[in-house]
C-alpha cells in the first residue's frame, strides 16, 4: 500500500476499496469479540468457510470475523449481510443449515432467530431486536460490518475522513473549538469537558506534549471499554490522532493491560496499518504534522486507572497515586504537558469532526451530550455491550434494552460504576444516564452496570467489591488500606452471623473519614457501594445483624442453602 499523502489520495484509495466490493454481495459476519470467541466463534467461522467451499459457493459469499455487536449473552452472534439477518447462539453444526437455507434458499432458519419473550414472535433482522432497536449505536453500530483487523473495512465505512478534514480544513484551534462546542465530556467518570482539557494542554508553554488513551478497564464485571477498542480499534486511533493534532502532541500512548490480549493485538495491528497507510508517522496526509503512537502495557492493577498512578507506571515507577498540585496538562507524563482521556472519549472525536458539534449535541441532555457505551451484566436477561443516549433513564436501560431480570425474580438494584460506584433501588430508576444526575445520586459514570435481583444478597455483594478493593488498593494511605480492612472485617462478621449492634454506625464512621481523608479517588470512593446500600437497603443489613437472617438466602452461615455465588 502506497503512503497516502493527501485527502484526495485518501478518497481515491477509498473509492478503489469500494469498487472492489459489491454492496449486494452476501457476507456472513461472525462476532469475533473475546466473549463470542470464548463461546466458539472461531470454530463457527471455520465451519462456514468449509461449508461454502464444500457447496462450491465460496466465491459468491464473504465470511468475516467482525467487531463485537454487543449481544454477548446470545453469542456467538452471526449476521448475514446485506439483509442483516441475525442468528444467535450459533454453533459450527448450524453452518450447513444456514448456508443451504438462508444463503442458497433465501429463507431464515427460524430456530436460530431471536424470539420475543412477550409475544413469542421471531425477529429476523438485527435492528428489529428490542435489545438493538432501543439503543443509539453511534460508536458500535458499525462493528458487525468491520473486521477489526482490516483497515480497508474501516476505510470502507468512511474511516479517516475526519482526520483528513481536521488536518486540511481546520486549524488545531478550530478542532478544539468544535470539540468544546460539542459538549463532549471525559468518559472516564469524572466528566471533565474534553475540549477544555485539550485547550489547557495546547496553551501550555512546553513544546513537547503527550497524549494518552486510557484503555485500562479494571472494574470487575465490566467489559465495554475493551470490547469497543478491540471491535473497532481504528475508530479510537483516529480520535487519538485528531486530538494529538489539535493539542500539538508528537507522541501518543495507548495504555492497556495484557489481560486483554485481544485488545492489545487488534490495537497493535491497527497502529501498524495506520503507519503503512500514512495516518501515523511523518507528515501525516501531507499536513506537516508528525505523530508516533505506542502501546504501553500496564501492570494490571486496578489502581492504575488513577491518573498519577497510571503515569507513574508508564514512567517505570511503582504504580501508586501521588499528591500533586500541578495539572497533567501542565506537568504530566515525564513532567511534560499531557492529555489523558478515556478511549470512549477519543472514539467520539471522529464523529464530532465528521458530523459537527451541533449534530453531536442532538443526542443527550444539555449537560451530557452524545452516547455512553456500557456493559450490562448480572441478573439481566440481555447482558452485553450496549450504547445508550445520554438522558436515557436506568429503567429504560434495564427493561427496554436489557429485557428485565433474567428469571421472573423481582428486580432489586442496579449497581453503576463498579467498586467505586453506587446501587440504585427500584424506586429511583428514573435517574438518567447523565453526569450530573448520576453524581447527585452517588453514582460514578463507570463503564459497568450490574443488575441484582431478589436472590442477590446486597451485603454479600458489597463485601465482594470491598474484597476486590482490599487487594487492588495500592495500600499506601491509612484511611484506604486500613479503612477497607476494618470495613471488610465487620462485613465478614455480619455475613457470618457475628454482627453486633453498632456495626452499621462504625461502618459509616470509617466511610466518612475515608471519603474525606484518602489520598486518591480509589480510597475516596471505596465506601460508595457500602454507603448507597446502607441508605437504600439498610433493613437487609439489620436482618443479618439483629435476626441473623439473610433475606436473599445467600449467606451460608445464616442458614442459606443456595450456592451462595452472587456476582
Amino acid at each position: 500500500m502506497p503512503l497516502i499523502k493527501s485527502p484526495e489520495e485518501l478518497e481515491k484509495v477509498r473509492e478503489e476499496i469500494l469498487s472492489r466490493r459489491d454492496p449486494h454481495k452476501l457476507c456472513i459476519s461472525v462476532c469475533a469479540g473475546a466473549s463470542c470467541l470464548a463461546s466458539g466463534a472461531g470454530e463457527v467461522i471455520a465451519a462456514f468457510k468449509a461449508e461454502l467451499e464444500k457447496q462450491n459457493i465460496n466465491a459468491d459469499v464473504d465470511t468475516k470475523g467482525s467487531g463485537c455487536p454487543g449481544f454477548c449473552e446470545q453469542g456467538p452472534v452471526v449476521v448475514i449481510h446485506p439483509e442483516e439477518i441475525c442468528y444467535l447462539q450459533v454453533t459450527p453444526d448450524d453452518a450447513g443449515e444456514i448456508i443451504s437455507q438462508t444463503i442458497v434458499g433465501k429463507k431464515p432458519v427460524e430456530r436460530l432467530l431471536y424470539t420475543d419473550p412477550d409475544t413469542g414472535n421471531k425477529v429476523v433482522k438485527m435492528n428489529d431486536i428490542p435489545f438493538y432497536k432501543n439503543q443509539v449505536r453511534h460508536l458500535i453500530g458499525n462493528n458487525i460490518k468491520i473486521d477489526p483487523k482490516s483497515i480497508d473495512d474501516y476505510l470502507a465505512q468512511g474511516g479517516y475522513a475526519a482526520l483528513a478534514k481536521a488536518m486540511h480544513e481546520m486549524s488545531p484551534e478550530q478542532v478544539i473549538e468544535e470539540v468544546k462546542e460539542s459538549g463532549l465530556r471525559g468518559r472516564s467518570g469524572s466528566g471533565f469537558p474534553a475540549g477544555r482539557k485539550w485547550e489547557f494542554c495546547r496553551n501550555s508553554e512546553d513544546e513537547h506534549k503527550y497524549v494518552i488513551c486510557n484503555c485500562h478497564e479494571g472494574d470487575p464485571g465490566s467489559y465495554a471499554d475493551r470490547r469497543l477498542t478491540e471491535g473497532n480499534p481504528h475508530n479510537v486511533l483516529e480520535g487519538i490522532i485528531i486530538g494529538a493534532y489539535a493539542i500539538g502532541a508528537q507522541d501518543a500512548f495507548v495504555f492497556v493491560g495484557d489481560e486483554f490480549p485481544q485488545t492489545v493485538e487488534n490495537m497493535r495491528l491497527a497502529i501498524k496499518q495506520a503507519e503503512e497507510y500514512g495516518f501515523l508517522g511523518k507528515d501525516i496526509l501531507g499536513s506537516g504534522f508528525d505523530l508516533t503512537v505506542r502501546i504501553s502495557i500496564d501492570g494490571g492493577g486496578y489502581v492504575l486507572g488513577e491518573s498519577t498512578a497510571l503515569m507513574a507506571s508508564m514512567e517505570g515507577r511503582i504504580g501508586e497515586p501521588k499528591t500533586k498540585y500541578d495539572h497533567a496538562t501542565d506537568r504530566g507524563l515525564w513532567a511534560k504537558p499531557t492529555v489523558l482521556n478515556n478511549l470512549q472519549t477519543w472514539a467520539n472525536v471522529p464523529l464530532i469532526i465528521n458530523n459537527g458539534a451541533a449534530w453531536f449535541r442532538q443526542t443527550g441532555t444539555d449537560g451530557s451530550t452524545g452516547t455512553r457505551v456500557f456493559s450490562i451484566t448480572g441478573k439481566i436477561k440481555n447482558s452485553g455491550m450496549i450504547e445508550v443516549p445520554m438522558g436515557m433513564s436506568l429503567k429504560e436501560v434495564i427493561y427496554d434494552i436489557g429485557g428485565g431480570t433474567v428469571t421472573d425474580k423481582k428486580f432489586k438494584a442496579i449497581q453503576v460504576g463498579g467498586p467505586l460506584g453506587g446501587f440504585v433501588p427500584e424506586s429511583q430508576l428514573d435517574v438518567q444516564v447523565d453526569y450530573d444526575q448520576m453524581t447527585d445520586a452517588g453514582l460514578a459514570m463507570g463503564p459497568g452496570l450490574i443488575v441484582a435481583d431478589e436472590s442477590t444478597c446486597i451485603v454479600d455483594m458489597v463485601k465482594y467489591f470491598l474484597t476486590f478493593l482490599a487487594h487492588e488498593s495500592c495500600g499506601k494511605c491509612t484511611p484506604c488500606r486500613d479503612g477497607i480492612r476494618q470495613m471488610l472485617h465487620i462485613l465478614n462478621n455480619i455475613t457470618a452471623g457475628r454482627g453486633n449492634k453498632g456495626d452499621l454506625e462504625l461502618l459509616e464512621l470509617i466511610s466518612t473519614v475515608q471519603k474525606k481523608a484518602a489520598l486518591c479517588a480509589l480510597g475516596q470512593g471505596a465506601s460508595d457501594p457500602l454507603l448507597s446500600t446502607l441508605k437504600h437497603f439498610r433493613e437487609e443489613y439489620e436482618a443479618h445483624i439483629e435476626e441473623k437472617r439473610c433475606p436473599a438466602g445467600v449467606c451460608k452461615a445464616l442458614g442459606a442453602v443456595s450456592s451462595g455465588a452472587n456476582v
Binding site: 492493577g301 498540585y325 487487594h471 495500600g475 488500606r481 476494618q486
Partner: protein, 204 residues
C-alpha cells in the same frame, strides 16, 4: 524565592515561597501532628494525620499540610471538630496494628482515641514508610521496600542487599514510630532464612 503571608489558626504567618504549610506552621510554633513525615524525605502523604483545612482562592478543602505548598493569602485551620474526628479515627485504625506504640500513645490522649475501637491485627507496622524511604532517598540502598498491595502491603528486606548493608547501618530502626519491632523481625528473618523474603505470593 519570594515571601508570602498566610493565616494559620488566625495567626499571621510569613513564609518563603516553596515551603509547605507544615513547615510554615512549625516555623510559627503551631503544632500539627505527623507520623510519616521526615524533614530529610520527600512528602509522602500516607498517614494523613497532618491534614488541615485550607482556604485558597475562595475554595475550602482538606489537604495534607506536609505536601501543600504555601500561597499568599492562604487561610489554614489546623484544629476543628472535623479534623479531630479524622485524626482520631486514623489513630484508631493504626492502633489496631500497634496498640502500645509510644508515638501513637502521645496522640491518643490529645484526640481521645479508643485503642479498642477496631479489631486488632498486631503487625507492629503502620506503613508510614519511613524505613523504606530513608533507605531509598537518604542511604540510596533500597534494602527495605514495600511489597504486595492493598491490605497485604508490608515491608520486606532484600536479603542480598541487607546482608551487605543493614547490620552496620540500622538507622531506620530509630525512625520507626512503632519501636522497629517489625523491622527487626523481618531483617532478622531475611538474614537468617535460606530463601529471600522478597518472593511474592501468588494471588489468592
Amino acid at each position: 524565592m519570594g515571601e508570602v503571608t498566610l493565616t494559620i489558626d488566625n495567626k499571621e504567618v510569613k513564609a518563603e515561597e516553596g515551603m509547605t504549610v507544615l513547615e510554615a506552621a512549625r516555623s510559627a510554633g503551631i503544632k500539627i501532628p505527623t507520623l510519616c513525615h521526615h524533614e530529610k524525605l520527600e512528602p509522602y502523604t500516607a498517614c494523613r494525620i497532618c491534614m488541615v483545612e485550607v482556604e485558597s482562592r475562595g475554595r475550602s478543602e482538606l489537604d495534607t499540610s506536609c505536601s501543600r505548598p504555601v500561597k499568599d493569602n492562604m487561610v489554614v485551620r489546623t484544629q476543628s471538630e472535623e479534623l479531630t474526628e479524622i485524626r482520631r479515627t486514623l489513630l484508631e485504625l493504626m492502633l489496631s496494628h500497634a496498640p502500645d506504640a509510644r508515638e501513637l500513645q502521645e496522640l491518643v490522649e490529645e484526640y481521645g482515641a479508643n485503642r479498642n475501637r477496631f479489631a486488632k491485627e498486631p503487625s507492629f507496622c503502620i506503613h508510614c514508610g519511613l524505613c523504606v524511604r530513608y533507605c531509598a532517598e537518604v542511604k540510596k540502598k533500597n534494602a527495605v521496600v514495600f511489597v504486595k498491595s492493598g491490605v497485604r502491603r508490608e515491608i520486606s528486606f532484600n536479603k542480598e542487599i541487607a546482608s551487605r548493608e543493614c547490620w552496620k547501618c540500622r538507622e531506620c530502626f530509630e525512625l520507626c514510630p512503632t519501636e522497629a519491632l517489625q523491622t527487626a523481625y523481618l531483617l532478622t528473618e531475611a538474614l537468617t532464612s535460606d530463601s529471600s523474603s522478597f518472593e511474592l505470593e501468588p494471588d489468592a
